[in-house]
């Protein structure tokens, strides 16, 4: 267990935002969060709760999905960022790792990583590349392969590595654990922790894997149908009985078996 955020300073603040897709579909109904500088903040919630939407609203990727923030405000270091384009945000140090990998299929793994350094004007790109390869040795062996042909997990590594290449201050991670082998999940979260501790990066991560997320995060928000229903320090959330039951799958006597689950929620025959 880590100390809660190092500073009290708020790096990123989301105030009561509302998001509408396609002019008609209201998805976020007033979400507020604050991400302390140097902390790892987790955004939890079921499918369709609006985690991805929240992250995209912050990184301003919503426009390209025909979504818009209709109410509320988003501040980064106290300045409103709603009008910046994603590229400008990256320059300011906010980068998002998108859900579902989104690699550049036709570029090689290495070229993918290099695009991450696009906004940087100085610094030692080669050294950072080595750093990423250190974190993900598997990528090194596949550096010349087209990203489109790498396995799901490899693509996830590429996406995270690519974001690291921009030397961001604040990283928005959307489901980093999805599709990764358990070992790797641990590894990636360890990397997140390392970066957080050593480099002082701030993280906001959307996760389904509540278990891991709450182990590594300092603070958590739980989102349900577009609203924050609960928030608190990660340690508190872990002890919350509802969280335990619905997000961690724990009953009073340890983990339930997935096989047993159905016995008490079992429905009647579903096909007659």
């Amino acid at each position: 267990m880590l100390d809660a955020g190092r500073t009290e300073e708020t790096l990123l603040e989301v105030n009561n935002i509302e998001v509408i897709y396609n002019h008609v579909i209201l998805v976020l109904k007033g979400v507020s969060l604050s991400v302390p500088k140097g902390g790892i903040t987790a955004l939890l919630g079921g499918n369709g709760a609006g985690k991805t939407t929240t992250l995209k609203a912050i990184s301003n990727l919503l426009h390209s999905e025909r979504g818009e923030v209709t109410k509320g405000s988003i501040n980064y270091r106290g300045e409103p960022v709603a009008d910046l384009d994603p590229a400008a945000l990256v320059k300011k140090g906010v980068i998002q790792v998108m859900e579902g990998r989104h690699c550049f299929e036709h570029l090689t793994v290495e070229e993918n990583l290099l695009t991450g350094a696009y906004t940087r004007s100085g610094g030692d790109v080669a050294a950072d590349l080595e750093m990423v390869y250190d974190y993900f040795p598997r990528l090194k062996t596949r550096r010349k392969s087209q990203a489109g042909y790498t396995s799901g997990g490899e693509q996830q590594m590429v996406a995270i590595g690519r974001a690291l290449m921009s030397r961001p201050e604040c990283i928005l991670l959307d489901e980093p654990s999805m599709g990764l082998a358990p070992q790797l999940v641990e590894e990636i979260f360890t990397i997140v922790k390392d970066l957080n501790e050593k480099e002082g990066n701030t993280f906001l991560l959307a996760e389904q894997n509540t278990n891991v997320a709450l182990r590594f995060a300092h603070y958590g928000y739980i989102l349900e149908s577009g609203r924050v229903v609960m928030d608190g320090p990660a340690a508190d959330l872990r002890e919350n009985p509802d969280v335990k039951e619905f997000y961690l799958g724990m009953s009073d006597d340890g983990r339930k078996s997935f096989r047993d689950v159905r016995s008490y929620r079992r429905r009647k025959r579903w096909l007659s």
Partner: protein, 273 residues
């Protein structure tokens, strides 16, 4: 108690596992220089839940692709229902009753949930073009009958409320469910699931598990499943194949696999509870 045939057995929880329905024999698959699968053999028995696990890039998805005929291995044979399967197009494989879901969701984004699930009924609907053009006779009848079937699946998977929503708009988890619905709608004899629970929280995983088990239970559908959540794998599966770098490094019941040192080194990291 019914008689259990010689080549079958009954599990602890009372399900009958039948003889081998599908057998992979010495499969090797290469992509240029990359060896995705190296000389792997394993079998799937009727009615069992067979898991395939392994680190990222081990070749699990490729293996499913071989089964569904999308990749043609350079070496090796696929035996299905006791006969060697000849070279086949993927759609022919599907017509034999093998349905699947995909790791990177492969739904038809422009269609509604209902239409997506209805595509699962391909095998059952055979009206010809003229009948369909006139919406008469067989076409209309089939449409209504199969719709009824599909509605039951929709009900079962609890996706009634999004029936008419275009799939493109759905969040990830629901998409996964729709994909499962599409596969179930085919009433397959073998169901291949590629990471059906990726990106879900525990509650949703529980639901998914329940669906899978029910499916297996009610119809005796054989299921082959890739999953990274060891809890799920260990709880659900009857037998597990473990792959690493394209090679098979373990095969057996969950307990056997869990204690196999190679598997622990390559994949699990620590022995899983």
């Amino acid at each position: 108690m019914t008689q259990v045939p010689a080549d079958s057995y009954v599990t602890e929880d009372g399900r009958t596992i039948g003889p081998t329905v599908m057998e992979m024999k010495n499969i090797t698959l290469r992509f240029g220089g990359v060896k995705a699968i190296t000389d792997i053999s394993f079998d799937i028995r009727e009615g069992e839940i067979r898991a395939i696990i392994g680190p990222n890039g081990a070749g699990k998805s490729s293996m499913l692709n071989v089964i569904s005929g999308f990749y043609v291995p350079q070496e090796g044979e696929v035996w299905y229902k006791g006969a060697k399967r000849p070279a086949m197009k993927p759609y022919q494989v599907a017509q034999q009753g093998i349905a699947r879901t995909f790791q990177n969701i492969a739904l038809f984004e422009g269609m509604s949930v209902l239409d997506n699930v209805m595509t699962g009924r391909l095998r059952q609907m055979n009206a010809n073009l003229i009948q369909q053009a006139l919406w008469k006779g067989r076409a209309e009848k089939e449409e209504v009958e199969n719709r009824a079937f599909v509605e039951k699946i929709i009900d079962f998977l609890e996706i009634q409320h999004i029936r008419k929503t275009p799939v493109g708009r759905l969040p990830y988890g629901l998409k996964k469910r729709v994909e499962l619905a599409r596969a179930l709608a085919a009433e397959p004899s073998i169901l291949l699931l590629d990471e059906p629970m990726a990106g879900m929280n525990v509650e949703e995983k529980e639901d998914m598990s329940r669906f899978i088990l029910d499916m297996n239970d009610e119809f005796g559908t054989t299921i082959a499943l890739i999953e990274h959540d060891m809890g799920v794998v260990m709880d659900l599966s009857d037998r597990v194949v473990v792959m690493d770098y394209g090679k098979k490094i373990g095969d057996g019941t969950p307990d056997e696999v869990r204690n196999n040192q190679d598997v622990i080194d390559a994949y699990l990291g620590v022995a899983h509870d």
